[in-house]
């Protein structure tokens, strides 16, 4: 029988809580998160926010690095189209998002794990909804289980 030794994804344990890395732009989405705090809105505590000056600053390497280091999802938040503090940074983020998403899909990482949201400084409620929705979807998907070749080496044996 032929079998693969790459670990299959197990059923999601009931207590599983995903960690999601959120890159929020300084001028809009980060302020939305700030406002959500001021309003004392309850939303899923699974996101770890990293503030960047602009969504256009988010190098695709940041996203891949987050996944490689164990994030179950990556959320990008920027200003609405036309509202970028630097004029066009969010459009650059949008273009990269689409190409990166197709690469991630080819690498076996589901669409729901990578998300882009335009959220202005006033949209605390929409932020809550977006985060809650993403966390629920990623929780249902379960852990990513990316393995590095080093960890994987000893386990790999020829199955006969």
């Amino acid at each position: 029988m032929l079998e693969t030794t790459t670990k299959p994804v197990e059923t999601v344990p009931a207590t599983y809580e995903p960690k999601i890395v959120a890159f929020f732009c300084n001028w809009c989405t980060y302020l939305a998160a700030d406002l959500a705090g001021t309003f004392r809105l309850d939303y899923a505590p699974n996101i770890r926010i990293i503030r960047v000056m602009c969504s256009g600053r988010i190098d695709p390497q940041f996203v891949l690095d987050a996944f490689a280091k164990g994030a179950a999802g990556v959320l990008i938040g920027g200003c609405h189209p036309g509202d970028c503090h630097y004029e066009a940074g969010n459009y650059k983020a949008l273009r990269r998002f689409h190409l990166l998403r197709s690469v991630l899909q080819e690498m076996g990482i589901e669409e729901e794990r990578f998300r882009l949201e335009w959220l202005s400084a006033a949209e605390a409620d929409q932020l809550k909804k977006a985060v809650d929705d993403m966390v629920a979807k990623v929780r249902a998907l379960g852990p990513l289980h990316l393995e590095t070749p080093e960890e994987h080496f000893a386990e790999e044996v020829m199955v006969s």
Partner: protein
């Protein structure tokens, strides 16, 4: 160099060449040294080179540890035999040099990391139209028949770059490395003037820096359509990106002197990234996507659909060395 060459046979520094998962082009690159190879042979003893010389594994095993000055290893690591040979040569050598894209970053064989052993075997030994295999016979590491036994190396799910198997001292990039870079590396080895461990032995700037078309690159690169080289007649002087063709030059290390571009073909990225970049494909992705000349989501998607094979284009030589390294295991329902 002359002093070394004048010494007796046993005084000469020992050098080994080995190949793992590779096409043989890197062996060709050694031969491409042309008459210079005579200087190399005069200066060193080649103690192991399966493609050209009849030394065996047991000859290497019999050597003292650390007795080889340098082992040049090309190819990615896919099988148990390759892994064993790499570990053996690492033990016997003072320096291990990853030779060519496959050992540097996984190379083209590394694109197999989009699959695993099971799917590769099923395609190769069952599904291809030319295969007739009704009994479902697949390669086995050991097969016994009438008390006799034959063996094959084990086949790993994941293709690895050389430094994911053993410590690597230097990297000679390229598919294949150019004779000039190899010549410089050998001279460096013999003179003992070695750079910092872990150095990629090629200039640490982007290929655009030495591209003959550099001056034709517009201030802002924008495209409304990505094209593949067969879809247009390429201008021989204009920046290829400006013509809408995906050229990996901006995300690739210099050193090849823009060989492909001089032949009017875009760079495919075989020299890997510069030292400041962790993931060559991600860096190229950021650059290509930013060129898209639209702010409309639908149009952006349409333009990006011109990149027909994103992983194969962005990570043609570097998938095992990328941040994600391989496709995630299939979900079992």
């Amino acid at each position: 160099m002359t002093d070394v060459a004048a010494g007796s046979q046993t005084d000469k520094p020992k050098v080994a060449f080995y190949w793992c998962a590779s096409c043989g082009g890197c062996e060709e690159a050694v031969v491409d040294l042309a008459e210079k190879i005579l200087d190399v042979v005069a200066a060193v003893d080649i103690v192991f080179w399966p493609v050209a010389l009849d030394f065996k594994r047991k000859d290497v095993e019999a050597m003292e540890d650390g007795s080889i000055l340098a082992s040049f290893i090309n190819g990615a690591v896919r099988t148990t035999e390759q892994e064993e040979m790499v570990r053996l040569l690492r033990r016997k050598s003072r320096l291990v040099i990853a030779f060519g894209s496959c050992s540097h970053m996984g190379g083209i064989p590394g694109l197999a990391n989009l699959w695993d052993r099971k799917s590769i075997f099923e395609t190769a030994y069952r599904d291809t139209p030319s295969t007739v295999n009704p009994e479902g016979v697949y390669p086995l590491p050991e097969f016994k028949d009438n008390g006799r036994s034959v063996t094959l190396p084990g086949f790993y799910d994941t293709v690895r770059a050389l430094n994911q198997v053993a410590e690597v001292d230097y990297y000679l990039p390229g598919c294949a490395p150019t004779p000039k870079l190899l010549g410089q590396a050998v001279e460096g080895l013999l003179s003992g003037e070695l750079p910092l461990k872990g150095t990629v032995l090629s200039p640490d700037v982007a290929l655009c820096d030495e591209c003959p078309r550099k001056e034709t690159k517009p201030e802002t690169l924008t495209v409304t359509e990505f094209l593949r080289p067969h879809q247009l007649i390429l201008d021989e002087e204009e920046c290829l990106l400006a013509q809408g063709v995906l050229c990996m030059g901006p995300a690739t290390r210099a050193g090849c002197e823009a060989l492909c571009i001089q032949a009017n073909m875009p760079c495919t990225g075989c020299f890997g990234p510069t030292s400041r970049v962790k993931d060559q494909g991600a860096k190229a992705l950021a650059g290509f996507a930013s060129m898209v000349d639209s702010n409309d989501e639908e149009e952006i998607e349409k333009i990006l659909s011109g990149i027909v094979d994103p992983v194969g284009t962005l990570y043609r030589y570097s998938l095992p060395a990328s941040l994600l390294r391989r496709k995630r295991a299939e979900k079992v329902s």
